[in-house]
Symmetry: C2
Subunit: 326 residues, 2 copies
């Protein structure tokens, strides 16, 4: 049998109201009474039912998180940052993905309507941005972890894509490279445009191939560039998977990295230190982005003001041997 607040009240010889008061602090309770109640609580091992508290208070102390996929290389870092922050605040994290398409989205939308959580953290809602925006407009607190330069109409956490691109260029320039081959993700992503613009602030770049954020794109882009006889002394990849593909094609073609061609990636996923050679890359602080977004959402739930402007966290160039300092 579950121990309830009524059991505690009875054994402590007070009303449920009083027990509730010592549970939730705030209200004034006689110190002696409070101590007695606390003793009974401890003795009985009483813990309030989160469901009942939620119903009575009209909030669940749960945060929802919606991600497109959980298997992306950097998703674990984001999740860990979120979970740590959310747990430390006494909240729970309810996890959703769009992995099963319309079914997933339907399930998720139902949970929103059912008030299963108080606020929402969202990553990369490529096909659901409108849905999310509508939910936000109807009053659901939302914070987005914006890895794609979406710039939503609600609070978000982003990273310095432009400065990151510039830092890659500056590093390459400092090590004597001047003829970059840039391999990007899809052009309609804000992050792609920003990284490219930042890069070009420092170094001209005419050889640009746009594709997907995949190893295949990196591989075929380099093959294509070599086949065309393009002249480049470094490859600037818009993520580490593209960079890994580039490394592979360069090696297959007998080009030595970094002697013949330097390679720089973006993200710093765990794999980056295990490529051959290890990858110089622009690190995105995914964990801190998760922590920051969760913190902003918690603040919003506490009634604190939250900036509508994106909160932008700095990238950091991590130098490894694929593009050494020179």
């Amino acid at each position: 049998m579950r121990v309830t607040i009524a059991d505690v009240a009875r054994q402590a010889g007070v009303s449920k109201t009083t027990v509730s008061r010592v549970l939730n602090a705030g209200a004034e309770v006689d110190a002696g009474t409070a101590a007695r109640v606390r003793e009974v609580i401890a003795g009985l091992g009483y813990v309030p039912s989160s469901g009942a508290v939620g119903l009575a208070r009209g909030s669940s102390r749960i945060i929802g998180m919606l991600t497109p996929s959980l298997t992306w290389p950097w998703m674990g870092e984001v999740l860990q940052g979120v979970v740590d922050t959310v747990e430390a605040a006494g909240y729970g994290l309810l996890l959703f993905t769009c992995n099963r398409g319309a079914d997933s989205v339907g399930h998720f939308a139902a949970q929103v309507s059912a008030r299963a959580f108080d606020g929402l953290l969202v990553v990369e809602p490529e096909n659901t941005l409108d849905t999310i925006t509508a939910m936000h407009r109807r009053g659901l607190p939302v914070v987005m972890i914006d890895d794609r330069g979406h710039h939503p109409l609600f609070p978000s956490v982003a990273t310095t894509n432009r400065a990151g691109g510039a830092s890659a260029a500056a590093h390459l320039l400092a090590s004597g490279r001047t003829r970059p081959l840039v391999v990007t993700g899809r052009r309609d992503f804000g992050c792609v445009r920003e990284r490219l613009a930042g890069f070009r602030e420092v170094m001209p770049a005419d050889l640009v191939i746009a594709g997907e954020f995949t190893e295949d794109t990196g591989r075929s882009a380099v093959e294509q560039a070599l086949a065309q006889g393009w002249d480049f002394d470094c490859v600037v990849a818009h993520n580490d998977l593209i960079a890994a593909g580039a490394l592979r094609s360069l090696r297959a073609a007998g080009r030595v990295v970094p002697d013949d061609v330097a390679v720089v990636g973006f993200d710093d996923i765990p794999m980056a230190r295990h490529t051959e050679p290890p990858l110089t890359t622009v690190r995105q602080p995914m964990r801190r982005m998760g922590e920051t977004a969760a913190g902003m959402l918690l603040a919003a739930l506490a009634g604190d003001p939250v900036p509508v402007e994106p909160v932008v966290l700095p990238t950091e160039l991590v130098v490894r041997s694929s593009a050494p300092a020179r």
Copy 2:
């Protein structure tokens, strides 16, 4: 204002009881009445409050999941398998980690006491196995994803560690290798003992170095073996991180993989296809383990019998160039 069951009842001209009945099917309701109620529900966009339903029913339709860390290479796959299965059954997934030590464990335990979820999925509870076992004994349905050969006292999903070890040995033997250097994780892990035993069923192995499941262990083990002048023609690593470290040390020492030394890993994490050369490894079906464990837990919650014996899913040898077929 939130739409409640009372609103639906009023507008449909029936009692809340009847609305509840059409919501939950099962009970007999006049077809016409049911249709009318359904129309009102659709018109109002009514969705039952999950909190209220949970309180009334005494269950939350939420599954808890406890993991030591979310950043492990294969955790994303497990999570994805779990989330997909849980969502498809109309359940939610509440995520916890032990990442912040005692604090995390405390928060988690409180949620258990608060009945925040109906059943628990757990991965690798190295320091919490006793706690979990106690929770299970007190009536909490628990299923473990057993990646370490723990063999708990409650239902679990494991993989064929022994057969996996044997398959690595058989593959190496078939390609002419006979002098293995085995680098393992901690000896007190069941999976380590089983993988080693399976390997030795097929091929004798005297050169065994035990360490952690890390790249450092792989690196230093190979360095040590080379320094001692040990004679080996293949490295059998108990996970892919160890294998990656071994590859690095071999290359640094001028040994060519696979010509001089073949290397086999275990797990098949995403990184495995990006090492140089790409890694032959014994694949653990982490996603299917997640799906299976979630399915078992859902079955248990539905009242179906669940095997106490571990459910064992097969490993699969993935052949890449670090240990080609020959």
